[in-house]
Symmetry: C2
């Protein structure tokens, strides 16, 4: 599923990046920073966001639908820029879209965390669905069974990031309530996987609670290192969303870290696209 | 759209109640308390929740789909137990399901608030989508143009209610941040419409910030007064959800206020049901 792509940079087709909504823009941000010369299509399922509170079956079905849409845009690779979708749908998507390579969030972040930890204790922060799946614990255990993994579902941080309350006393109190107790122990983690693409926005508050000596693993940055794309050129991005574009555009800047008002998002009718695809297939 | 139903109690068919997810259980709670002898079918669109951050078009399309499902269960009435759906889809559903009566959240809550306010200043708390629509302001203005309406989108309270953080310092700080400034003015509201079905869970914190002399309007209670149903008998409830039942059942008690572990929720495949219905219609 995780492929190295040595001849990848000569392929002019776009890289497809999908997420349940807007959080994946933090991943796109890492990809764009490392490979500005690539073309990107970002697909956000804003009509059905969030995935993190939904069941594995539903998340897998939704994610496969998004992969199906991206296939229609002739992408050369799919990056699943959503931890919950990575956990529940990466294998199904890899099967579906083969031989197009699929990069999911979990394996690169798990590997980066193992590389970073010195005391062999990693904290995974994620959505309810990601933590409940145990996927990070399994991925880390497969690479190094001596590493202890603590998982904490920090669901409210998603809403805080979307509301823009990413610093100040409320964000601090929420992070403290979730992860504070773990850092009061002598056996506290020295590495945190930000296992949801919203959480890099709360990086400062998380460091404030966990301590300056903790290493934070950003999934987008970890995944980006697997891809050898064009490192020079002009950014070329296209935004597709399943809900109306009006709600998407104001949030782009906060999550992407750059203004994107000159790139209009496009609404796509998911049902119509998937039905057309089914008809073609039959 | 708002019908009084004088011969309603002799009709043995169920009352259909739908919501974007679980918040509407607070409305079902009011309905059951007043009319325990009625049969209820509660349909929660847990696979696509929340509606409050989505566009009017998407909310309307989703809500019409739910009304279509309830029609298949031969309901004698539909209660739209979701403010966002009420705002964007009540008229479309009333047209679609006629002559079956439809009760939405906005008109009864607006009327109850006007009846309650003495200083003619009402605060509406709701989702982004509900507040942005201006529906409450219009409904109040149509009944009494002399009433001042302040609307505040208090989106994070939805996530707080779902996380179960309904009291304590974080809930207090969030409510304070949203509505505190309004209650520092001399011209402060004396009545608050809890314009999202999640908000009754945060009633104590809201009173704590707004003051004991403020009247809170619970939409479920206001809507329930429009319906003349069977006031004696045994409760008969059926829960249908579009996501997996495992995620729904643990939240029922918090929102419904009674244990419902003996009432198993049923998963319904929305796509399959709607497609079957379309085939029948064609």
């Amino acid at each position: 599923m995780q492929s190295s792509c040595s001849h990848f940079s000569s392929d002019p087709r776009p890289i497809g990046v999908f997420d349940s909504g807007i959080g994946g823009l933090t991943v796109l941000r890492s990809l764009m920073a490392a490979m500005p010369g690539e073309r990107f299509i970002y697909l956000g399922d804003t009509a059905r966001v969030p995935y993190g509170t939904k069941s594995a079956e539903t998340v897998c079905a939704y994610s496969l639908g998004l992969a199906q849409v991206l296939r229609q845009y002739d992408v050369k690779m799919i990056v699943i820029a959503c931890n919950t979708a990575s956990v529940h749908a990466a294998e199904a998507i890899a099967d579906f879209i083969a031989p197009v390579p699929v990069i999911s969030m979990v394996p690169p972040a798990a590997a980066a965390a193992i590389k970073a930890t010195k005391n062999k204790h990693i904290l995974v922060m994620g959505t309810q669905s990601t933590i409940r799946s145990g996927s990070y614990a399994r991925a880390i255990d497969a690479l190094d069974p001596s590493v202890k993994v603590t998982g904490i579902a920090t669901q409210l941080l998603v809403a805080l990031a979307e509301e823009g309350w990413i610093d100040g006393p409320i964000a601090r109190a929420a992070v403290e309530r979730y992860i504070g107790p773990v850092f009061e122990n002598a056996d506290k983690p020295d590495t945190i996987i930000l296992g949801c693409t919203h959480f890099p926005l709360l990086r400062d508050v998380i460091v404030d609670v966990a301590g300056q000596d903790v290493t934070l693993i950003d999934c987008g940055e970890a995944a980006q290192k697997l891809i050898n794309g064009r490192t020079k050129g002009q950014p070329d991005i296209r935004f597709l969303v399943t809900d109306s574009v009006e709600r998407f555009t104001p949030l782009v800047e906060r999550f992407l870290g750059i203004s994107a008002t000159n790139i209009p998002a496009e609404h796509i009718d998911l049902t119509a696209i998937l039905n057309t695809d089914l008809k073609r297939a039959s």
